[in-house]
């Protein structure tokens, strides 16, 4: 694998008020890999994801120091709009807007200035195809999105993120509310997206991380304990705490 760096964090510290949530994080993420991030609750996984596209700042109490680089560029030089267009996120629970399937996906392209109806339509179709949802919804694009099943809604969210053509997709426990079959479909979609996108998957489900990711990071109490090839992390962890977690002794 040619390891081209796409995201790099340097001494990243995050705080909500006076509580430190991420501690001196140095992490490198390679282009087109699927990086799994595992760890017990309150280990800073979600905060790390949301630091990458600055969503943390929606909370007025949030602050951070250190640096984050996207393709070699310090992200503080990018506007929120550009940064979030490049780094999309899928939330834990399927979050669809209460409008039609079509309008959910079309929203992103529209706010980024695509006004031509045919252009929007083709973006929507492509995005739905890539998210493996097109065949299930192509005849009912005008249906209100909340009427879809949970798994379909989550794939709709993936399509919505794909429609703004990001480089990186963040998944924040994307399958925590889904049944096993829907989960499998979301994981299939992730595998197919590997060719063109870098994906970071935060999950509470260590088995999912083992199934899907190529490399895996273990977070504990805001610290990066260990990062390695997934197979290595799960079979020969170097740190005792990682060993305890992946073998199910705590967490």
């Amino acid at each position: 694998m040619v390891a081209e760096t796409i995201i790099k964090t340097v001494n990243l510290n995050s705080y909500f008020g006076s509580a430190q949530v991420l501690k001196n994080l140095n992490l490198t993420i390679y282009k087109n890999e699927i990086l799994g991030i595992i760890g017990p609750a309150n280990s800073g996984k979600t905060t790390f994801l949301r630091a990458l596209n600055r969503l943390n700042y929606l909370d007025a109490a949030y602050s951070q120091d250190g640096q984050i680089f996207l393709a070699g560029q310090d992200i503080t030089n990018l506007s929120d709009t550009i940064l979030r267009k490049k780094i999309g996120i899928i939330f834990a629970l399927p979050q669809v807007l209460p409008v039609s399937i079509y309008d959910n996906v079309a929203y992103g392209p529209k706010v980024h200035g695509i006004t031509n109806k045919q252009a929007v339509a083709s973006v929507v179709e492509n995005a739905l195809k890539k998210a493996y949802l097109w065949d299930e919804v192509k005849d009912r694009l005008a249906l209100p999105a909340p009427k879809l099943s949970g798994g379909q809604q989550q794939r709709l969210c993936i399509a919505r993120t794909l429609a703004v053509e990001p480089d990186v997709i963040l998944y924040d426990e994307p399958c925590s509310g889904l049944d096993p079959i829907s989960t499998a479909k979301v994981e299939d979609a992730m595998q197919q997206l590997k060719e063109n996108y870098t994906q970071i998957l935060v999950t509470n489900n260590t088995k999912q991380a083992a199934r899907v990711s190529e490399r895996c990071a273990f977070f504990l109490m805001g610290e990066l304990i260990e990062i390695d090839e997934t197979s290595a992390l799960f079979t020969r962890p170097k740190d005792k705490r990682t060993d305890d977690y992946v073998s199910g002794r705590f967490g």
Binding site: L58, R84, G88, I89, F91, Q95, V111, V164
Partner: protein
Amino acid sequence: MNAAKTREKVAFYILGLAALLVMVPIVMTILYIVKNGIGAVSWQFITESPRNGMEEGGIFPAIVGTILLIIGTMLFSLPPGVFSAIYLVEYAKDNTFTRLIKLSVVNLSGIPSVVYGLFGFTLFVVFLRLGTSILAGSLTLAIMSLPVIITATKEALETVPASFREISLSLGATKWQTVRYCVLPYALPGILTGTVLSLSRAAGETAPILFTVAAFYLPRLPRSVFDQVMALPYHLYVISTQVPNMPMKRSFATAFVLIALVFLMNLVSIILRAHFRKKKQW
């Protein structure tokens, strides 16, 4: 077990009775006004100017005046009210400045309407030299309507789930795009309710228009926004207390028209709201 059942019954009847009691004054008022006023309401009464010391003819100029004042009030209060609420909920950070604004809104709603009248008179009529005019009256009523509009809009915006904003922002939309497409459409029914409520109140107010716009007797239509007009609530006050030998049924008929006007506004808002609700899917 039996005692609990009895208490349940007692509670049910007391609560139900209280709810029923609420209806009594409103039903009585409307019935009383309709009963005493409907006889004097005719096509003439609605479409003609008053004649013969207001004892004959109609109240057309007062109806037009009140409608003009409602429109003027809406123009002057809706944009600043809704915009400032959007600013407070979506943009403002929690600091001394915004807390001061919120405090002002709360206090503004506690000021008696006659004080608004006096304030409007000194500021708009005298200081800004607008004279007693539709403009001065609308501005005075607008200031009085602001707190209700701001509060209602704020509450409507706050009930829109935070996740809508997060989705929109996470896709790289700007703050304004987020507000415009993912928040406002869902807050609209609530904003509408608050606006109509405050405009209905403005339509029925006497004190704020007393010094700023209302004419005692002006049996013609206004020619510009700098004209005085007759207005229904003030006309009602005039014919009920200031004109001797005025037949009571004319007062009741005037009250009936005023109530009908307010009711009509509420009806429009109910229809609009039902229309927007259909779109609501969360």
